[in-house]
Symmetry: C2
Subunit: 154 residues, 2 copies
């Protein structure tokens, strides 16, 4: 326990919880990427696929907002998945500017694989962490986000 790989306990005195949080986020991405590697997907691609499989045809801007990345970046992600026939771009009958991104059959089966990977990994991540602790974590995080937002807009 005392021998994490340090770098969080004796981290620079400024940046304490914050740096732990950021390195944790990095590890999360790393862990998901590792588990998704057999599917030849990274976390961003998998998120997109899972989201579309769950909620149906979606606009790219909407996807960008949901997955927390820019519209431009989202475009290239969609390009990649489209080239692999996992998603399709359909024109929107009501708005000729937008594409509605929908998942193909191949994408849908892959999405269920993703869901399985996700479920397994998240179960592992819960080891030794109680439900109340997770809820407390979630609460503090959202509260932190509020503070961060107002700090950024200042």
């Amino acid at each position: 326990m005392s021998s994490l790989t340090n770098n969080e306990l004796d981290a620079p005195p400024w940046l304490r919880v914050e740096s732990t949080l950021m390195s944790t986020a990095r590890l999360i991405r790393e862990a998901f990427d590792a588990r998704l590697k057999p599917l030849d997907l990274n976390l961003t691609q998998a998120s997109l696929l899972a989201y579309v499989a769950e909620f149906g045809a979606t606009t790219q801007t909407q996807l960008a907002d949901q997955l927390g990345t820019g519209r431009a970046a989202m475009g290239t992600v969609v390009d990649g998945l489209e080239k692999r026939d996992l998603v399709e771009r359909h024109p929107d009958p009501d708005d000729r500017r937008v594409w509605r991104i929908d998942v193909t059959d191949a994408g849908r089966t892959l999405a269920s694989d993703i869901a399985r990977v996700d479920e397994v990994l998240r179960a592992e991540l819960r080891h030794g962490i109680g439900r109340e602790e997770r809820q407390a974590l979630s609460w503090v995080l959202t509260r932190l986000q509020v503070n961060l937002q107002s700090a950024i807009n200042t």
Copy 2:
């Protein structure tokens, strides 16, 4: 409260706390970058400068470990700071492979500015979050990191 900018409460059902955590990490970087912008530094550069100012001449590998980035990337960061005369590379008398990175006088005064920015921002981030909550957060995060590490090494 219910109108964050969503994207965490109605996030894809898979990835819940995890995605909140990652977006929080992004916001942290964003907030620090914004506050450090007047100093013409980003969070990575500021971290490096603050660390060296605090702990004295340091090896690049050591810095990479501490700041959680690769050695190669650390090299370019040092390059940039060296070009602005904020740090210096001194040869190590005992090991001719390594550079000991030390802070210049200019870098030291800038480091105190960084410390001030850091102190102010972190005080803002604590609003509405009690000490026990912060400690609980820290505990859950390190526990999560343990789980993540063993998940990655599998």
